[in-house]
Every structure is written in C-alpha cells, then in structure tokens.
Symmetry: C2
Subunit: 340 residues, 2 copies
Amino acid sequence: MEPVERAPVWFMRQAGRYLPEYRAIRAKHSFLEMVRTPELAAEVTIQPVDLVGVDAAIIFSDILVVPEAMGMELTIEEGRGPRFSDPVRLYKQIKALTDANIVQKLSYVTEAIKVTKEKLNGRVPLIGFSGAPWTLFAYMVEGEGSKDFHHAKQMLFTRSEDAHLLLRKLTDAVAQYLIAQIEAGADIVQIFDTWAGILTPHDFHEFSLEYIGEIIRIVKNETHHDAPIVVFCKGANHSLSEIAATGCDVIGLDWTVDLSEAKALLGNSIALQGNLDPAVLYATEAVIAEKVDAIARSMGGPRGHIFNLGHGITPDVDPENARAFVRAAKQAYRKETAHA
Amino acid sequence: MEPVERAPVWFMRQAGRYLPEYRAIRAKHSFLEMVRTPELAAEVTIQPVDLVGVDAAIIFSDILVVPEAMGMELTIEEGRGPRFSDPVRLYKQIKALTDANIVQKLSYVTEAIKVTKEKLNGRVPLIGFSGAPWTLFAYMVEGEGSKDFHHAKQMLFTRSEDAHLLLRKLTDAVAQYLIAQIEAGADIVQIFDTWAGILTPHDFHEFSLEYIGEIIRIVKNETHHDAPIVVFCKGANHSLSEIAATGCDVIGLDWTVDLSEAKALLGNSIALQGNLDPAVLYATEAVIAEKVDAIARSMGGPRGHIFNLGHGITPDVDPENARAFVRAAKQAYRKETAHA
C-alpha cells in the first residue's frame, strides 16, 4: 500500500509565549538576549518540534534585527513592543544606514541556525526568515507599530526618492541576510511583509513587491542550495498573481482568502501556505478540526499545500489547542482520502 | 453649454477632531454629551459643510449608541477609546439585551437629524448611519477595540447559536434605528462594518453580510422615502459581488482595491464610494490632487462615483489638507473632461 500523502504543518510564531516552556526561558532572559544567544535561540526554536509536533522549525529571531544591524538602536519594552528611539525621517539618517558587514553583524542568527541544525539532526527542516523591505521601512520610519503609519506613508507620498533609497538599501541587506541564512543551513526562507495590507495595490507594487522580487532574484542567483522561498504579504490578496510572478516558490496566505479561489487563480505552479484564522485556536478541539478540514476541502488535495495559520499564533492560546491544530492538519487529507 | 458633471465628495469622520472648530466645542463638552445633545451634534455635523466644503453632512454620532440603547453601559475614556465595562459573554446577557423602545431611547439622534436638517435648509443632503451587526457584536463581546477580538471570535466559533441570537437582535435594532433616521430626515444612510476584514470570507458571509442584507430588506420594505443605502465593509473586498447582492445602492470601498477592478466586477448597476488612502492627507496639496486624479482615472467617469476616503480621517490631519482633498475631488472629473 502506498503511504497516504499529507501536507506538512508549521505555524508562524510557533516558538513563542503561548508555550510555558518558552516562558520559563524567557523569565530568565530578555527577548533580545534570547535572540542574540545562539544556544538559547536554538533551544526555543526546537521546542515546538518536540512539544507541538510541527513538521518544520523556524529560527527564533525578530525581523527588526536587520535595521538594528544597519545602525538603528532597537529597544523592546515589556508590554509596549519593539521600538526605535530615533526613527528614520531625514535623508542624512537614510544615508547613515549601511548594509556593510550586515552578515557579520547578524552572525548570531547564522550561528543560531548552525546550532539548531546540529541539534535537529535532520529531524525536520529549518526555516529562516526576514522582514520584507516595506515592513522594515514602516517600523524604521515610524519608530514603532502604528495604526496608520503616518510618517512612513508621508515619506512614501512626499519624498518617494528618499523612500526608494531606503527600500533599496533594505533590499540589499535582506538579500545578503537571507543568503547567509541559507548558507548557514536554512532549508527554506520566508519573507514577511506584515504591513503589506495597509498600502493601496498600486503602492504595494511600487514600494513593496518590486523589492521582494529583487531579493528573490538575488537570492536565487547567488545561492546554489535551491532553498524554496516563501512570500507572506499579509492583506495583499489583491495581488496574488503579481506575488507569484516574483519567482517565489510558496505564497503564504492570511485567512481572508479562500484557498480554492487562490488555487483557481494561481494554478498548480506555486505552493500555498496557510491559512487558518489564528483566532480559531481560541475554540475547541472539535471546531479546530472542522475548520482545518474545511481548508483541506478548499485546497482539494495535499500537493502544493503547507498548513499554517494566517498570521502568528497569539500568546494567550492554550498549547493544547496548538497541538490540536497540528494533529488535525496531519489528519485532514488522510480523512479526505479515506472518504474518497 | 451643458454643466460639467462631477462626483460628490464627503468623508468619513468629517465632523471630528482634525477641525479646531470641533475641538473648541469638544473642550467644553464630553464626547457623549455632544452625541446626546441635538443642538451640539447638529453644530459639529454642519461644520465640515461650512469649513471644508463637502457635498453632504453626516450626522455626528457613534456606532456604539445602539448597544447602549439595548442595555449596555458605554464609557469613553480620554485616550483609551470607547469601552463596555460589562462585555456580553453569557447567554443570559444576550437575553437581557433588548431592542424594545430602541427608537425612543435613541430619540436624541433622530432629534439631532431634525435640527440639522432644519439648519442645513436643503444646502446639502444629510447622511445617517449605523454600525453593522457584526461590528457592534465585536465591540459588545470584546468590550473594546482589539487586535484579534479573542472573545468575539471565540463566541462565533464555539457558541454560534448564541452569536446568531445576538446578531439577530442587533439586526432588528439597527433596522428600526435606520428607519427612524430616514423618517427623521436622513437622505441617505450608511452601514459601517468596520471589522468585516478580520473574518474569513465564509465567516463574513455567515456572521455579517447575511444580517446586513436582512437590514436592507427591512429598511427598503418599511420606508417609502427611497433613501439610498451605502454599505461599507472595511477589508471585505473579497466579497464585492456578494455585498452588491444585498440590494444596497452604494458600496463604500477602502483603499486596498482599485476602483477600475471593482467597476469591472460590478458593472454600472451600483455606485462606488471611496477610496483615497486616508494617509494621503499627510502629504502635500499637489500629491493629494495627483492621487485624487488617479482615482478619477481609475473610475473612468463621475457617474456612480462618490468621492470619499477609504476610512475615517485621522485627527492629526491638517484641515488645509482636508480642504485640498475636497477641492481636488470637485475638480478631478472636470479636468478629465477638459482633457477629452
């Protein structure tokens, strides 16, 4: 009998606060200390593999380490989230940022990847990642998370040359960073464009997707590892065809699109990752399984599908429910096959 | 020579904090006091007509007056936003909410509409509004604004019968409320589904759009004023055809959809309202005009178009820029015609 095929499952922020085992380590170390200490980063990276049963690990880190390595001062205050004390607003600040030695400055990440790979010992693949230029830009110019990103958008609209200069620098930095992650052992890399959805389709193409495409070209040209690239542009379902055209291998989808529609639009040429509403993890095991099954039906079959949430898991989710999601995802297509 | 046709312009939250004249009144009265005092509500409702030049007034009020009239205690703290001290979580709380005498309890709104109509004296039409059942539900169950509406979604997923019971009650309340507004003189009414975009398409249809459609059927059946109904479901561009099928007369669009695509999808049977990115008002007058012109080009012609922002104006916008938007919107299609 042939083995029944299924879609792999992992989820965004799977190494995180919803796990008591994570909080136990976090109680002894600051977030940035954990990010910068390869042994600690590796430990929490592997936790969800052991504790939740996911099919891939994703390196524990933060997207804002890139702007920090380019010269910005990053602080993370309890309960307030990450912040840059001196946001990038002026041309001279953009000029002062540099992607020189970015890989060396971020060697704690590549080191964490190496340590993790060794500890994983081939059990599951390891995913590396970076923020997309636009999302990094939004934080760097605003200084922190925001409802409307007043300053970031003001720069796009009134000083688009400066904006493009900064986005260009970020593109070079992110490309080098992803290449270094792949060379250190990352089997897959994901580009997170968390703030894609606050742009008009036109602005998304000009200020975000163009640069994501450039990063993919550089990474594909300059590595020989053939590591698949996942692009996750939250809230940019208006541009799925254009995202596919960047040459990425997988599109990460939030929960506001039906997989059957995405698949009908994109065909079988690209894999789809997602897209359970993260809030479903506040429900019961039975509801979680039902919603996961609905995704499997919508997708039609496991080929070209990676189960994931449509955004990061939230800290107040019961780990039992995260496990229920993983179990349901592992069973979903098997049920379909059994019914067929 | 025939007069050159143009699209009317107004914008969401146009009676609001970005205007110093509004803040002068707000300095002397609490927000809820202004909402509940017809003379004050009428005064700030008319301000943007006089000060900014918009083509319609929208009654100054808040969507949360409906849950309050149904029995909830609403508080608005400075800097924190509106809040219900006792969120609706239990079946008995849902049962206790009532739409009885809702119109009488909200007579301060219908009175404000009458006063405003008298003061406007036919200069511009007056728009009434209500929150959509799902958006009201989200606030009532969560107790306040939220990133992921943990409790509201938990009720949808684990106690959908309770959720539907509450949504049904809200539907009846909102329908009566809108009818009362129309009978008091509102020329147009808008249904705001601010939180539509946090639902999957499937959940949006089940928990939101179904009820919006029901409200429209009731309002259209029970009034003889033929007041057009605008439906604004922020972030639900995945379902524009389904929104059009509710029987609404106008679809309000956020800025994450291109008007040319919306028009291609929907044809000329329904009017489109929107959809400038509100953050464009942080730019310069020239940029504002350029972005407004791009919307006009995308729309193709003024017929069936109402200029608006894609969401409410933000408090830190310079009123000069709000005026620049209105001027540009009034000129946009005239330029097109001149070019033709």
